[in-house]
Amino acid sequence: MTLPSRSNASTVADRLGEIVGDRHVLSRPSELLVYNSDALPGYRKQPRLAVFPGKRDEAIAVVRLLAEEGLPFVPRGAGTGLSGGALADDIIVIGLHRLKEIISLDIENRRATVEPGVVNLRLNKHIAPHGLLYAPDPSSEAACTIGGNVAENAGGPHCLKYGVTLNHVLAMTVVLPSGEVVELGSKFGEHDGYDLRGAFIGSEGCFGLALDITVKLTQRPQTVRTLLADFMSVDQAARVTSAIIASGIVPAALEFMDGPTIRVVEASIYAAGYPKDAEAVLLIELDGLEAGVSTDLEVVRQVCIEGGARNVRVARDDVERMKLWQGRKKAFGAMGRLASHLIVQDAVIPRTRLSDILATIHAISEKYGVLVCNVFHAGDGNLHPNIAYSADDPDESERVHKAMTEIVNACIDAGGSITGEHGVGLDKLGYMESIFSDTSLNAMCELRGVFDPDRRANPGKVVPIHSCKEWNAAASARGPARAREATPLSAEPARPSAR
């Protein structure tokens, strides 16, 4: 695998153009600018080329051409990721948003087969008339694609009750980086043998591209009730969260927003009517059969009041419910009012540790003089501390990154994980060695090696390359000229953690 020279790149672009049509290949730097980041604008990498297949066969042909040429590539959905996972550092982006057909819908068996570029919200609109929904609901559901969901094993607020992407995908057809097309899982039901579908989900574009995905659909609940409980202290809201979970009730969603987040949202066009003087609100949704929901609603209300809630408001109708949700789902967008850049973490902690970890995060933010906004999936213990800042200010940038590193390390020390739904990508690569041993990381490298022996799919992401024993051995045996981690194709950044 060698980096295409500029002249080779134009030859490759021509050949890709023959497959997908010239206007679906971008090669001018100005055209490629829009593909130089995902939804984390702090990371920018300029791709060499971008190609957008419009049909399944075109996608296969593109992958086969790149395999023949030995060229690395990065699959990309809608670019709404929050880990820098879809960045291509001077290599080729394969954008899949044009593959957007809902191939089949089986109402009775509650499943659908879709192309990877189908947007979550569109699928949900399509199946809503049948009383069905596709449960995983990332906050970017209006833009993100099912293919991207599969790559990241995406979650969302309602995953508390309904589970994440891996619990809702039955099967997919995949084109491996070699160009070979394989079926993983079974559209029809259970099968024996290794769970290759499970291995593929969450592989962050390192194992190939999904060409179609068969998902399970869920019956819409009979009743949905949404509560907003507001608190004058973060600690009270955290303790109430733990108490609700410990009560055994499984809310459909249990979301947390702290004072700074509330005030940013309320000042934006997404204002939801949250009390601006509150230090925290919990957005709690219960769903299911009417009779059961009413009973649980009273229990939850009681837990909130006993835990110090100032006010518990139950949305009277769908309009009010949607408004309450809009504030939560658009909170990251509202942060755009504060500064040009946003950094978001995605650590998960045991749910009994919420109160003390939020206190730790507060202490860290004071120490570094940064404003941390907390808006997250409290019921899962999945934190999203985020800081709006200006990347042009080197001093501020440094403080922000130091604060975030300390926050993530505190979550790791609490027995947590570095990412609950956003993926490792580039952003969290440096933390992988804090939670996994060398042998565990090497086992991941070996699995990747099976799907992509040449390491051409999304190189440099997820697992630090130096953790891959066999590849390092093979690379040094070939000599430095061919050691892949030495080429500019590798997007591996310096390790951010000082641990």
């Binding site: 043998g193 059969l289 042998t439 086992a443 697992v463």
Partner: protein, 381 residues
């Protein structure tokens, strides 16, 4: 047996090329799966809690702990692991994950892959690998937990498991419905249940032979379990009672149902689209072959055929009975998986060729168990 001891044992076996049979409490050995091993690596004595904070609703436990013990430990905090694989609660959590075994509760709580949060295993080189974590949501790194689930010990020896727990339902009741000989209404009943908002914890339809062994007479019978808070159970029961005549039975019915496997000669699971079972249920249940106990879980899309005569060495009969069922299929039977759970040892190689022979699976096996010492042959050659 600690993880380190398991790692040492695997390493030694690798060095001497001595294949190992991996065993928990040895319940699955009677499944007759063909393992070509000279030594057994038993995790029977590696049991107990590693960490359990009830407020987190997660449990980390050594792989040799059996399901009965997990039930006891979590029950003290009014919690449970809603995993009830066919067989008995003497099975270990390690074996349950390794074999991806599920039972009636999978209807509402999912398969082992859905309840698993993380695990520790020893690969075929004797290296200790951790996958996933101990929190309920986690996408850090490639998903080795799912890869190991259902791999039958061929990729690694599972030594520790972290699972998600649930609060025990406040009310948990089980009912039977006798479907009578007529059966014309069975499909209608199932369609009505599917269309209603009723969401039972478990729902199984038994043929006459299966019902008889549970003491419900010899008519086809429906078993249904409702759980949750009192209003949720009441409303479902009310709705269900309008569709069929129900009679409440003891919860121990489920244990008896799951244990029908224990003296079986063969167990075959057939999985396909749920609607195909709806269409075929009546004709399947009308088959009065007394030695084959059939149960259908229409929500999961699974049917199990248990040949109850322990001396029966003719599982092809059961296989034929299953495959010849009148499923509307896409073309030549596409979309129906026949999964063998238990067969007489000598029959395995005949009816079940390798189930992990595709190039990706072979390459994974080679990477994780380069000396081919972990349960060789158990998934075929």
């Amino acid at each position: 047996m600690s993880t380190e001891a398991a790692a040492t044992a695997v390493k030694a076996s690798g060095a001497s090329h001595t294949p190992l049979r991996i065993s928990g409490r040895a319940n699955w050995l009677s499944a007759g799966r063909p393992v070509k091993a000279e030594k057994t690596l038993s995790l029977r004595d590696d049991s107990g809690v590693v960490s359990y904070v009830p407020g987190d609703l997660t449990l980390t436990i050594r792989a040799g702990t059996n399901l009965a013990e997990i039930g006891r430990i979590t029950g003290e905090h009014d919690q449970w692991l809603p995993l009830d694989p066919f067989g008995s609660d003497d099975g270990t959590i390690g074996a349950t994950i390794a074999t991806a075994s599920a039972g009636p509760l999978a209807t509402s709580f999912g398969l082992p892959r859905d309840l698993l949060l993380g695990l520790e295993f020893v690969n075929g080189r004797g290296e200790i690998v951790r996958a996933g974590g101990k929190v309920v949501k986690n996408v850090a790194g490639f998903d080795l937990s799912r890869l190991l689930t259902g791999s039958w010990g061929t990729l690694g020896v599972i030594t520790e498991v972290t699972v998600r727990l649930y609060a025990r339902p406040k009310v948990d009741r089980t009912f039977v419905v006798s479907l009578g000989r007529g059966l014309k209404s069975t499909t209608e009943l199932l369609r009505a249940v599917a269309a209603s908002p009723v969401a039972p914890f478990a729902l199984e339809i038994l043929n006459g032979a299966a019902a008889f062994s549970l003491g419900f007479g010899d008519n086809p019978t429906l078993l249904v379990r409702f759980g949750g808070n009192a209003p949720v159970v009441d409303i479902q029961l009310k709705a269900f009672s309008q569709l069929a005549r129900t009679e409440e039975v003891e919860q121990s019915t489920w244990a008896a149902f799951r244990e029908m496997d224990s003296d079986a000669g063969s167990v075959i699971r057939i999985s396909t689209l749920p609607t195909r079972f709806l269409g075929a249920a009546s004709s399947i249940l009308a088959d009065t072959e007394p030695r084959i106990a059939i149960s259908i879980n229409p929500r999961r899309g699974v049917m199990r055929l248990v040949t109850r005569d322990g001396g029966n060495r003719d599982p092809e009969r059961a296989v034929d009975a299953g495959i010849s069922l009148d499923f509307p299929t896409d073309g030549d039977g596409a979309g129906t998986s026949v999964i063998f759970e238990k067969l007489p040892a000598e029959v395995w190689p005949v009816v079940s060729p390798s189930v992990a022979s595709d190039p990706l699976s072979r390459a994974i096996k080679k990477a994780y168990d380069p000396h081919n010492i972990l349960n060789p042959g158990i998934l075929g050659d």
